[in-house]
Amino acid sequence: MTGVEIIAAVDLALALLGRLNNIRTALKQSGELTPEQDAALDARFQIAFGEAHWQPSNPPQASIVSS
């Protein structure tokens, strides 16, 4: 493994670890959300969707100029 790959593996581990509690809580939900919880959830989604990692990237395009 290169240094970059080690950092990526640690980054992925942290990303997954940070989600476990939220997912467990969501899956354990047995009642309907209250209006306050509904509003908080929608607000959380909208904040996340505005963050940099939710903006589409510009993938490198294949060159149309033949060499």
Binding site: L12, H53, P56
Partner: protein, 137 residues
């Protein structure tokens, strides 16, 4: 040397602990308390859990884009699909759930079910590419 293997294994272990409850839990088999509407509870569960997976995937792709481009350009394409279609599907599912809460008609239930399927499909894409990414390093 051993440390490198442990670091490589760590995301795989975490991924397994994440993927198993999600694959079981989002099928709607978890319990619903008395008086609660299973359509609403399931829709809210799917929206929250799928968002977590999609958010983890697009964040990981964003933070490691250059390395992942070398592994497969498909990962970036999938992430962009989640960013546009996944976002839209979650927003539509939330709107459909709110509409169903206001009017629990068969038509509104059908709309919720449609968006649940779309969100779950996009969540699967995110999970699939997280798997691909965590196997490569």
């Amino acid at each position: 040397m051993k440390c490198k293997y442990l670091i490589a294994l760590l995301p795989m272990l975490l991924f397994s602990s994440l993927a198993i409850p999600i694959s079981i839990g989002l099928t709607g088999c978890a319990s619903v308390e008395e008086g609660a509407d299973s359509v609403v509870v399931n829709a809210e569960r799917v929206a929250q859990a799928s968002f977590e997976i999609m958010d983890a995937f697009v964040l990981y792709e964003h933070n490691n884009r250059e390395m992942l481009r070398r592994i497969s350009p498909e990962i970036e394409k999938a992430a962009n699909s989640v960013r546009t279609d996944g976002r839209k599907a979650i927003e539509q599912l939330r709107s459909a759930t709110a509409a169903y809460k206001n009017n629990r008609s068969a038509e509104n239930k059908a709309t919720v079910d449609t968006w649940i399927k779309t969100v779950e499909h996009l969540k699967s894409i995110a999970l699939q590419h997280l798997t691909a990414a965590q196997r490569k390093p």
